[in-house]
């Protein structure tokens, strides 16, 4: 009788241990699985890797522009996947240049990424100057972006050249990324054709080397710019022939 009793207890205890073992094992296994999955997710997910690469690329070009131009103001560059079409609007208060997914998609080369970033750097650097640590200047830029637009474009060309980028890429980038509105009298922005003509004139005046030895002459987007800017370029030609210093009214 005793033997039967001990056997039953032994079987019961063994069963109990198995049950606990079975209950506790999945937790351990799951934890390990989660860890492994997390590591795999972190290191092998192509989407994240792509984002990291883009972020690294943007930061690299951005900091190269800052250093080459000896800009002493702190700023950072952030890549965002938010769907904010063609508005790499930095938060002027944070001095954080946000480059949106849709904007970077139009940039096909380092020169074009530099064109996109250089413009935002000018804007962010400007937010440091003036009254109340740049608060008033930031308010001005927000209130009257049209006034600053061409000024920023021109300064961005300088920044690109100093950092060793081809400024013609700015024409290429803007030509393919920015739409053309009907009027600019009331709106907050200049006509894109007007901006392009001003950039072209600026490059012609200060950095003619890039137009004389134009790497972009066979580029489809640059060819399209030449096609669509004939009237404006004719006006520039007349100005140069006449030696006038008057500002051209581009369309």
């Amino acid at each position: 009788m005793k033997k039967i009793f001990f056997t039953i207890i032994a079987v019961f205890v063994l069963c109990l241990q198995n049950v606990y073992a079975q209950e506790s094992q999945p937790e351990v296994q799951n934890k390990n699985v989660y860890k492994v999955q997390a590591v795999q997710y972190y290191f092998s997910d192509s989407e994240i890797m792509d984002e990291m690469k883009i972020q690294e690329h943007i930061s690299n070009i951005g900091f190269k522009l800052l250093n080459a131009n000896k800009i002493e103001k702190r700023m950072v560059f952030k890549y965002s996947k938010k769907d904010k079409l063609i508005k790499g609007v930095p938060e002027l208060s944070k001095r954080q240049t946000v480059i949106y997914d849709k904007a970077i998609q139009y940039a096909n080369s380092d020169d074009e990424v530099a064109a996109l970033l250089a413009r935002e750097i000018v804007k962010t650097a400007e937010s440091y100057s003036g009254f109340m640590r740049g608060f008033v200047t930031s308010a001005q830029i927000k209130a009257a972006p049209k006034k600053y637009e061409i000024f920023f474009d021109k300064r961005a060309v300088d920044f690109m050249v100093n950092a060793g980028y081809n400024p013609v890429a700015m024409i290429v980038y803007i030509n393919k990324a920015y739409p053309q509105k009907r009027f600019d009298i009331i709106g907050g922005h200049n006509l894109t054709s007007k901006r392009l003509a001003n950039i072209y004139e600026y490059i012609y005046t200060k950095y003619p080397y890039f137009l004389k030895n134009n790497e972009y002459l066979t580029n489809e987007y640059y060819q399209n710019f030449l096609l669509t800017s004939q009237e404006n370029r004719k006006k520039l030609q007349e100005k140069i022939k006449s030696g006038s210093k008057e500002k051209i009214k581009y369309e």
């Binding site: 250093n67 060819q223 500002k247």
Partner: protein
């Protein structure tokens, strides 16, 4: 046979015209005989040292955004105001004429926005450009400090607040009395 030849010629010439690359004739014409040197770039730098020597300059002829007498890339002459010394040696004597460039400028605008003049690219004899921190920015009187409070104060009486848009900012001027200070970093690359 003639028809076939004519047809072939038409096809060949039409394909050439379709594939033609539009050349920038304007550039070819105007820059043909002009020497266009490659601009200097600044990609090899080492900003470890922060020892700097100020160089005080004075413009020879005043410039302003008011009279439209400046253009982008215009060369401007300056005079060195004081002797510049490094390691007890004079590296630049007072009165030396140096050349700078109007990098760009922005005319004054509505909403009290001031005019801006940016000078840079100074060519100082005996000093390397890469060792200079020479961007000089001059702004006109900023009237937006009046415009914005006035605009907000008048929001209760629409559209009077919008009338403040027509207040224009001041012109940027660089006169012969202004001291333009640039810095020379002798240890920079």
């Amino acid at each position: 046979m003639n028809k076939v030849i004519v047809l072939l010629c038409v096809l060949i010439f039409s394909s050439i015209s379709v594939n033609a690359i539009m050349t920038d004739e304007f550039i070819d014409e105007t820059l043909k005989d002009i020497d266009c040197p490659k601009p200097e770039i600044n990609v090899n730098y080492n900003y470890e040292s922060f020892e700097r020597i100020p160089i005080k300059l004075q413009i020879l002829e005043p410039i302003s955004t008011k009279k439209n007498n400046i253009t982008d890339g215009q060369k401007i002459k300056f005079k060195v105001k004081q002797n510049v010394k490094h390691n007890h040696h004079v590296i630049l004597t007072a009165g030396t004429i140096v050349e700078g460039t109007v990098e760009t400028f922005m005319p004054r605008g509505m909403n009290g926005i001031p005019g801006v003049i940016i000078l840079d690219d100074f060519e100082i004899p005996g000093l390397e450009k890469s060792k200079l921190k020479s961007t000089y920015i001059k702004r006109g009187p900023d009237l937006s400090l009046c415009v914005f409070p006035l605009k907000w104060a008048l929001t209760f009486l629409p559209p009077t607040g919008s009338l403040t848009n027509f207040i224009v900012g001041g012109n940027a001027k660089i006169s012969t009395k202004d001291t333009i200070q640039v810095f020379y970093y002798p240890a920079w690359n």
